[in-house]
C-alpha cells in the first residue's frame, strides 16, 4: 500500500538521527496529498455550460468524451421525466410515497452509468432514478413505494441490492460484497450511495473502516443534497466538507460539483480506477441539492425558503451539459425532441402499467421467512388459509 500506512507500524528499534516516539514518522505532505479531497469541489462544466479550467485539484480529471456526455444527458432526460412521473403517481394514489431525486440527476445517472453490469450497486430509498438508469424495469423499482412488495427486482440477478431504508446500513453490506468480489478474484466494485445526513450514523464509520482495512473496492458516493429531511447540513456536521472524513480511514477522497455531470463522470473514473487496481475504497462527496421535498409527504416550506430552491435551478445539471453539447454541435433540436419524446413514451408506459392493480397473494406472507417453513409458520398459514376460505364462503 501507499507509504502513509507506515506511520502505524510499531518501530522496534531506534533509527539514528530521528526522535523515538515508538511511531514510524512520516511527512504530512505525503499523507494529505494521497487522502484529502481537493480544497474545492471538482467542476468541469460550469452552470452556464462553459468549460472550467482546472487548477488546484489533488488529482487530474479530464473531460469525458462528447459521446459519453450525450449518453449521460439522454439518461438524465429520461430519468428526470421518470422522477416527475413518479411524483405524479403519488397524487393519484398509485404510490404510497415517493422520495424524488429531481436536481440530483448528475449523481444518480452519472455515477450509475460509470459502473458496469458486473459491478454492484447499493441504493437507498432515493435512488429510484439510478435504478431506472441501471436498466431495472421502473415498475419493479417502484414496488417498494407502491407497497406491493419490499423489493420488486432480483438483487442477485441485477447485482443491485434492495433499496435500503435503515440509513447507512447498506454501506457495510457494500464493503462485504466488494471484499467478496476481491476474494473471488474479479475486478468488480461496489458503488454505494448515501445521503449527507446518513454520514452521521455509526455504520458509515464502520463501513469505511472495514472497506479500508480489507481493501474492499467500494466507491462510497455521498449525495450531499444539503438536507436530511428538514435538517440542514450545518446542523449535521462541522467538518470542512464531508469528503474530509476519508482521511480518518486512510481512504482517498474527493469532492465534486454534484450538479456537473462531466465532473461526476471524471471523478468516478478516477475512483473506479483506484478501486479496480486493488487499492481499496474511495470516498466521493457530490455537492448537489434536493429540488423537491424529502418525499411527497413532506412540506419543505417549513424549513427552507423558495429563494434557496430557485438559486439552485440555475445550477441545473441537464441544462449545462445540453449547453456544452450544443455549443460543440454535438446536440441539436431534433435530438432533444427525440429524447423528450422517448422520455414521454416511457413515462406513459409506466403510468399505464401502474394503473393496473398489482396482484398480491396474502398466502405469500409465509414464504421466504425461511427457505423452508417452520411448523410455527405452517400453523399460522393454515389459520390465514382458513380465514380466506371462509371469506370466499361467505
Amino acid at each position: 500500500m501507499t507509504p502513509y500506512v507506515l506511520s502505524l507500524g510499531i518501530d522496534l528499534g531506534n533509527m539514528p538521527g530521528r526522535r523515538d516516539t515508538g511511531v514510524m514518522e512520516t511527512t504530512a505532505e505525503t499523507m494529505t496529498a494521497a487522502l484529502l479531497p481537493s480544497p474545492n469541489p471538482v467542476q468541469l462544466i460550469d452552470p452556464t455550460g462553459a468549460e472550467v479550467e482546472q487548477s488546484g485539484t489533488r488529482r487530474d480529471y479530464s473531460m469525458p468524451s462528447a459521446a459519453r456526455l450525450r449518453a449521460t444527458w439522454h439518461a438524465m432526460v429520461v430519468g428526470r421525466r421518470f422522477d416527475v412521473q413518479a411524483t405524479a403517481l403519488t397524487k393519484q394514489g398509485r404510490l404510497a410515497v415517493y422520495p424524488s431525486s429531481r436536481g440530483q440527476e448528475a449523481c444518480q445517472v452519472g455515477a450509475t452509468l460509470s459502473i458496469g453490469s458486473g459491478d454492484w450497486l447499493f441504493p437507498t430509498y432515493r435512488e429510484s432514478m439510478a435504478l431506472v438508469t441501471r436498466g431495472i424495469d421502473p415498475i419493479e423499482v417502484l414496488s417498494l413505494l407502491r407497497g406491493d412488495s419490499h423489493c420488486g427486482y432480483d438483487p442477485i440477478a441485477t447485482k443491485t441490492a434492495a433499496q435500503c431504508t435503515p440509513l447507512s446500513t447498506q454501506l457495510v453490506h457494500a464493503a462485504g460484497a466488494a471484499y467478496g468480489e476481491r476474494r473471488r478474484g474479479t475486478d468488480h466494485v461496489a458503488l454505494a450511495f448515501i445521503g449527507d445526513g446518513a454520514t452521521s450514523e455509526g455504520d458509515f464509520h464502520e463501513a469505511l473502516n472495514f472497506a479500508a482495512v480489507f481493501e474492499a473496492p467500494v466507491v462510497f458516493f455521498v449525495q450531499n443534497n444539503k438536507y436530511a429531511i428538514s435538517v440542514p447540513l450545518s446542523k449535521q456536521t462541522k467538518a470542512p466538507s464531508l469528503a474530509y472524513k476519508g482521511i480518518g480511514y486512510g481512504v482517498p477522497s474527493e469532492q465534486v460539483d454534484g450538479n456537473d455531470p462531466a465532473a461526476v463522470l471524471a471523478v468516478m473514473d478516477v475512483a473506479l480506477e483506484h478501486c479496480r487496481s486493488g487499492k481499496g475504497p474511495f470516498l466521493i462527496e457530490a455537492h448537489t441539492y434536493r429540488m423537491d421535498a424529502h418525499t411527497n409527504a413532506d412540506d419543505a416550506t417549513r424549513y427552507r425558503s423558495s429563494d434557496e430552491v430557485t438559486a439552485w435551478l440555475e445550477r441545473d445539471p441537464i441544462a449545462r451539459v445540453e449547453a456544452w453539447l450544443r455549443a460543440r454541435g454535438e446536440l441539436n433540436d431534433d435530438m432533444v425532441a427525440a429524447a423528450n419524446a422517448e422520455a414521454e413514451a416511457r413515462a406513459a408506459d409506466l403510468r399505464e402499467r401502474m394503473n393496473l392493480e398489482p396482484a398480491v397473494d396474502p398466502m405469500s406472507l409465509f414464504d421466504n421467512v425461511f427457505a423452508q417453513r417452520t411448523p410455527q409458520l405452517e400453523e399460522a398459514r393454515a389459520m390465514v388459509r382458513a380465514e380466506l376460505d371462509a371469506e370466499v364462503g361467505e
Binding site: 404510497a96 417498494l144 431504508t165 435503515p166 440509513l167 452521521s200 436530511a228 398480491v360 400453523e379
Partner: protein
C-alpha cells in the same frame, strides 16, 4: 375540547417544558419541522432552539447524549423517528439506559424519556411498522408505557417526564389522529394501573396500544353474538398491573390476549403465562393469543392480512371451549410463531 392523540402529546411536551427548565426535547427533525408526525410542532418556536432542537442523524448518539445530559441534571425527552430506527440505539438503551441506576448503586438515575412511534396500520414501507415493545419490556430497568387514547397520552407522557427513571414511551402511530373529547391538562391513573375500557362477564381481552380500538370493536361485534366481553388496556407494560387483569379473568374465566407484535417470546406470551399462573383454576379454557404473524412486517398491501383484526379476535373468542371441546391441536388457534 376535541383532541387528537398527537395533539395531546404535543400539549404534554409544551406543559412539561413550561413546568421544568430542565426538560429538553431533541431528536431528528423535531425542531424546525416539528417532527415527521408533528408531535413537537411549534416547540422550538415557543421555547427556543435551546429547549427543543434537531440533532445529527444518529440514534445511538441521541440516546447516549441524553444519558450524559442527565448527569448534569437535565431531563431529556428524545424522539426516535420510527420503531426500527431506534435499533441503532439498542446498545445504549440496554447496556446503559436500563442499567445505569443499578450499576451505580442508585447514585445515577436517568430521568429520560425515549419516545418511539411504533407499530403499523398506516401503510408504511418496511422498517416503519415494527412492534418493538417486546425488546424493551424484556430488558430489566426500563419502564414501558403505551397509551391508546389522547387523555392517557397526555397523562402518561407527563408522568414519564416526571419519573425518576427512564421510560420507553411507545406511541401507536396509527392512533396519532384518533380523537377524544377531553380537557387538558388531565391526570389519569399512574404507571402500573391498567384500565378496564369495557365491562363484560364472559371473556376478558387483555390488550394495549394500537390494538385497543380493534379489541373494542371486536367486543362490540361479540356482543351481537351474545358474548359479553371485558376489554382491559394495560397502559403500562412495565410495571405490569397483575391485579386488574387477574380480578377480571378470575371472574370471566376466559381470556384472549391481543397484540399487534409477533407472538413468539414477546409481551403477549408473557400476559398469557402470567394470567394462567394466577388464574389457572378459574379458567374454562386456555388463554388464547391473537397477535401479529410470525413473519417480518409485510408490505402495505398485505398489512390487513398481517394485523390482528376483529374477525381473528372473534374467531379466538369462539374457540374458547364454550361447550367443552378437547385440547386444541397444533393446527388450531393460539399463538402463531
Amino acid at each position: 375540547m376535541t383532541v387528537t392523540m398527537g395533539g395531546a402529546l404535543n400539549t404534554a411536551l409544551r406543559d412539561a417544558l413550561t413546568a421544568d427548565d430542565n426538560v429538553m426535547v431533541f431528536g431528528e427533525d423535531v425542531g424546525t419541522l416539528g417532527g415527521v408526525f408533528r408531535i413537537t410542532d411549534g416547540l422550538t418556536e415557543k421555547f427556543g432552539e435551546d429547549r427543543c432542537f434537531d440533532t445529527p442523524l444518529a440514534e445511538a448518539g441521541i440516546v447516549g447524549f441524553a444519558i450524559g445530559m442527565c448527569l448534569t441534571g437535565f431531563r431529556p425527552v428524545v424522539e426516535m423517528q420510527f420503531d426500527a430506527f431506534a435499533y441503532p440505539a439498542f446498545e445504549q438503551i440496554t447496556s446503559h439506559v436500563a442499567k445505569m441506576r443499578n450499576r451505580t448503586s442508585g447514585a445515577v438515575g436517568l430521568p429520560m424519556v425515549i419516545r418511539v412511534p411504533y407499530a403499523g396500520g398506516i401503510g408504511g414501507v418496511e422498517h416503519h411498522c415494527d412492534s418493538s415493545e417486546g425488546y424493551y419490556a424484556h430488558t430489566p430497568g426500563l419502564k414501558v408505557v403505551t397509551p391508546s387514547d389522547a387523555a392517557d397520552a397526555y397523562s402518561l407522557l407527563r408522568e414519564a417526564i416526571d419519573d425518576p427513571d427512564p421510560v420507553i414511551f411507545m406511541e401507536p402511530k396509527a392512533l396519532y389522529w384518533s380523537k377524544q373529547d377531553i380537557e387538558l391538562p388531565c391526570k389519569r391513573p399512574a404507571f402500573g394501573k391498567a384500565k378496564v375500557r369495557r365491562d363484560g362477564d364472559d371473556v376478558t381481552i387483555v390488550t394495549y396500544g394500537p390494538s385497543v380500538p380493534t379489541a373494542l370493536k371486536a367486543a362490540e361485534a361479540a356482543a351481537e353474538e351474545g358474548w359479553s366481553v371485558e376489554v382491559i388496556d394495560l397502559r403500562t407494560i412495565v410495571p405490569f398491573d397483575d391485579e386488574t387483569v387477574v380480578q377480571s379473568v378470575r371472574r370471566t374465566g376466559r381470556c384472549v390476549v391481543v397484540a399487534e407484535a409477533q407472538g413468539f417470546a414477546g409481551v403477549s406470551g408473557e400476559v398469557a403465562a402470567r394470567v394462567t399462573e394466577r388464574c389457572f383454576h378459574s379458567l374454562a379454557a386456555p388463554v388464547a393469543r391473537v397477535s401479529g404473524l410470525p413473519t417480518p412486517y409485510p408490505a402495505p398491501m398485505l398489512e390487513q392480512t398481517y394485523l390482528p383484526g376483529v374477525e381473528r379476535i372473534l374467531d379466538a373468542i369462539s374457540r374458547l371451549q364454550w361447550d367443552d371441546q378437547p385440547d386444541l391441536t397444533f393446527a388450531g388457534v393460539g399463538a402463531r410463531g
